[in-house]
Amino acid sequence: MEILVCVKRVPDTAENEIEVNKDGSDIERDDLVYSINEWDNYAVEEAIQIRDKVGGSVTVVSVGGEEAEEIIRREMAMGADKGVHLSDQAFEESDGKGLVRILQAAIEKGSYDLILTGVQADDGAGQVGGMLAAMLDWPFASLVNHIEVINDRTIKVGREIAAGNQEMNEIDLPCVLSIQTGINEPRYVGIRGIRKVASVEIPVFGASDIGLSPDLVGKSGATISRVDYFVPDLGEGAEILEGDTGEILEKLIEILQSKGGIK
């Protein structure tokens, strides 16, 4: 099975203190560390596991500047067979639809049976998977937490439903799935693993390489523009506890006790 996984490089929420910048256009990006979007990492692990069971290959694709290469390489260290880096100045400041157009163009140049995306990205809008399926006119399942290959035309997917319910569906290939965390246990990739694939060539494709008109993407193709970016004001009934962890916990216990939450 030929599997493509769309991955994104994001600021790691566990290892950064995210603050909005002064003019409110973005977050403060100095001193941030980046990693692969967590959901995408699960998607790559799942793709590798499917490939190991039924054969085929796993390709990892990412749209972004030079720095996106590091996460493509990381996922190749994990076990993906090929990497594709989509990078062009024309791609900058694309909105969601623009981003999907780039991916769509690259996908149509290749031949894939299954496309996986993360359900969402730490810094995203959760729109790539669904929009990509719609624009490719392929079937789509979201929030997938289980995949079983039935044959080369059909797979069975499980979806997590509210209140801990589970839904099982059969879906025809080719299709797009957005992958939920917890579907597997992604393997560890250390510095050594990345060094081992350090010399593997990762092709970079620009707009012309994938036959995409630059007007459809980037700022010119965007139909959505961000107008503000801020931390919401404290609403009524909300309180932010301050102090060190011990003090915060003490206050929290006090509040819970006074409201009858704990005795």
Partner: protein, 702 residues
């Protein structure tokens, strides 16, 4: 002289004629029994040699392991640990029994050789043992045989009826080994008794014939046998004499060949195993011995994945395990019900070796250890506290093996999810919490201006570096330990600085969790920063950082733990202490593994405590080199083990049993684990924990 006449058949034969026909001269249905003797000897030695050759097989294909350095140290260790069995009495009763049996065996070994020769050469005597020396030896040998026999009887009763808990085998590890133990005790007893009968029958015959004879010491088994046979007709004695002799020989060679088939292989392997023991405590073995660090990165795979990836010494360890259970009896992971028992690491690997490298037929190589004989959770359960290695009378290593298996897991991407985030944070931020590098020195900001801490830079230099490490830099509670270090050092007049954002995690647990490449990155960054700082000595309050800097790093200035530093300054009067604040409190010192067992620092901390006038200090039963790990440090704090209870909880119970109300420790991770355990056991208000440096800080006269 009569005094010369008892023991060896030789003189009896030459001087006075033989009371009984010796095995070398007798015949059985017309066949000279010497034929049997020669046959048993050749056959026994042949089989034994064959078995040993087969057993050596896997060691020849194993990984390299240089163990021929520091020969004098090795010789000393061999004498102390293998010959004098220095570690045996740590378990007093079993230890004394073992020493008695071992010492007896050593004495009797000469007799055993002589006995084999008796069957071939009548009147054989070992060179030098023809005269008085031989007679003196015979007295000792009779005593030794009696002691060995008695010890075996006691050991068999102990093993068979009282069945000490530490020998039991949980069902998941297969069948118990009591049968083998009892069989061996029977064989040893059989050797003693058959020799006693062989010789006793001869003595009885000589007495009956009126030969001048020196009696064996009454009460020894030889003496008893002689007494029993004193009235037995000579014709019967002749048969008894020969049957006893050949029984002895058959048991002897059967026993010899039986040794390499099970846990009694240690009778043969223990002396070499001790001789080749690991000499550098606190260190972790190289990924591949004999390979430069830069080259190691070019290896296709890391660590131990298959049995054949172990070093020959580690295989010898498996052969040498005597199954005494002392390691697991002291293992904190075993105590809390984690799926790890060091004893069964050895036993399972030995069973694997015996199975895959059989005595006949082809060897089967190459299946993965994980999933076949070892489990992932078992390998991650170890805190590397070293209690098992401290206890093993045969110096079997566990930490290096576990780290080697972890290395192969990490290399294959098999790392528990709970450890992946901290490892990634260590890679990106140099600390397992994913905190910003620039906030690494923020803990020092809360100190008063008089205690402002220098951050070493190009233009800020001091001779002394305080290496803080991650937990003290970022953990709310532990930062207080760092602040106490600052006040104590300033109080003692020490001019020091910290590396601040240039400091990275020491990588101590990164290395011990098998992520060697990441460790090397952290180490190299730290070494560069330390060199840039130009300091001449290093102090740390974290035993894990201490051990890393001392034993894992190289080419940096000497490092001391704050406990050693405080001890020095108390002795020199630079630190003066008030009498104890709370004179109702009872203090106990918890030895951190990486200060105590791995680095032998037990007394400095205790002496620092005792320098506080009026302090009441008690010891827990498990103290010093038997200290019980609190739960582990570094990455172990992130690992979610399968366990029934927590190590810290057991430790707090031990402190309570000792009558203590305050646990003093000298390690930030012990603080975290013990503080947590005090809360979860509901001991708040009854038990406290304080770091040694905090205790000094509180009692220091400014």
């Amino acid at each position: 002289m009569a005094a010369c006449q008892r023991v060896r058949v030789k003189e009896k034969a030459t001087d006075m004629g033989t009371a009984l026909i010796a095995p070398a001269e007798a015949s059985f249905f017309g066949i000279p029994t010497v034929i049997f003797s020669v046959f048993i000897l050749i056959f026994g030695i042949g089989i034994f040699t064959y078995i040993i050759v087969r057993r050596i097989g896997p060691l020849l294909n194993a990984a390299a392991d240089p163990r021929l350095d520091r020969i004098m140290d090795r010789a000393k260790n061999t004498v102390r640990i293998a010959i004098f069995q220095y570690r045996q009495p740590r378990y007093l009763f079993a230890g004394i029994l073992h020493i008695l049996i071992f010492a007896g065996f050593v004495i009797i070994s000469l007799r055993s050789i002589a006995l084999v020769m008796f069957g071939i050469f009548e009147g054989f005597s070992l060179p030098g043992f023809e005269g008085a020396l031989g007679n003196i030896y015979d007295l000792f040998k009779d005593l030794a045989a009696t002691i060995v026999f008695g010890s075996c009887v006691i050991a068999a009763i102990r093993r068979g009826f009282f069945q000490p808990e530490r020998y039991s085998v949980p069902p998941k590890y297969g069948k118990g080994h009591t049968g083998e133990a009892i069989l061996v005790l029977f064989m040893i007893s059989g050797l003693m008794v058959s020799d006693a009968i062989f010789e006793g029958s001869s003595i009885a015959a000589q007495i009956q014939k009126g030969f001048g004879i020196e009696m064996p010491i009454p009460g020894t088994i030889t003496g008893i046998a002689a007494m029993i046979f004193i009235k037995t007709p000579l014709s019967s004695l002749q048969n008894i004499h020969l049957v006893a002799y050949f029984s002895h020989e058959l048991i002897f060679f059967f026993f010899l060949c039986f040794l390499p088939l099970g846990k009694h292989f240690h009778v043969i392997t223990s002396i070499p195993n001790v001789f080749f023991m690991k000499l550098n405590k606190g260190t972790v073995k190289s990924v591949k011995w004999g390979m430069a660090e830069e080259e190691i990165e070019t290896l296709e795979s890391f660590g131990v994945k298959k049995f054949e990836d172990f070093t020959w010494k580690h295989m010898l360890d498996f052969y040498s395990c005597a199954d005494c259970g002392r390691c697991s009896d002291n293992c904190p992971a075993t105590a809390v019900g984690r799926p790890l028992s060091p004893r069964f690491i050895s036993i399972k690997c030995r069973d694997y070796a015996f199975d895959k490298y059989p005595l006949y037929g082809a060897s089967i190589k190459g299946s993965n250890l994980i999933g076949h004989i070892l489990e992932e959770d078992e390998i991650w359960s170890c805190t590397t506290c070293g209690a098992c290695e401290e206890e093993c009378p045969l110096m079997i290593e566990y930490i290096d093996k576990i780290v080697d298996v972890r290395r192969s897991l990490v290399d294959g991407g098999i790392v528990p999810q709970s450890l992946q985030k901290p490892l990634s944070a260590l890679e990106k931020r140099g600390n397992p919490y994913g905190k910003m590098e620039r906030k690494r020195a923020d803990w020092a900001k809360n100190l008063m201006a008089t205690n402002a801490v220098k951050i070493l830079k190009k233009d800020v230099k001091t001779d002394t570096l305080y290496f803080v490490d991650s937990i003290t830099s970022y953990d709310d509670r532990i930062q207080a330990i760092g602040q106490a270090v600052v006040r104590v050092l300033h109080g003692a007049g020490v001019d020091f600085g910290i590396l601040g954002p240039a400091e990275k995690d020491s990588g101590h647990e990164v290395k011990r969790f098998g992520e060697e490449t990441l460790f090397l990155q952290l180490r190299d960054q730290n070494i560069a920063s330390i060199h840039d700082s130009g300091v001449k000595n290093i102090i740390t309050a974290d035993p894990h950082a201490f051990n890393a800097l001392k034993n894992d790093y190289n080419g940096i200035p000497p490092v001391e733990h704050i406990g050693q530093v405080m001890k020095r300054y108390i002795d020199s009067g630079k630190i003066r202490l008030k009498p104890i604040e709370d004179n109702r409190a009872v203090y106990t010192y918890h030895d951190p593994c990486y200060l105590g067992r791995h680095n032998g620092i037990y007394d400095a901390s205790r002496e620092v405590m005792d320098a506080i006038a009026g302090i009441k200090r008690v010891e827990m039963v498990k103290c010093r080199d038997r200290s019980f790990c609190c739960g582990g440090g570094g990455l172990m704090l992130f690992y979610e083990p399968i366990e029934e209870t927590r190590m810290g909880r057991l430790r707090v119970e031990m402190a309570k049993d000792a009558g203590a109300t305050v646990i003093v420790t000298a390690c930030p991770f012990c603080m975290v684990n013990i503080e947590d355990a005090i809360k979860t056991t509901g001991m708040e208000g009854k038990m406290e924990v304080i770091d040694l440096v905090e205790l000094v800080d509180r009692h220091m006269i400014a």
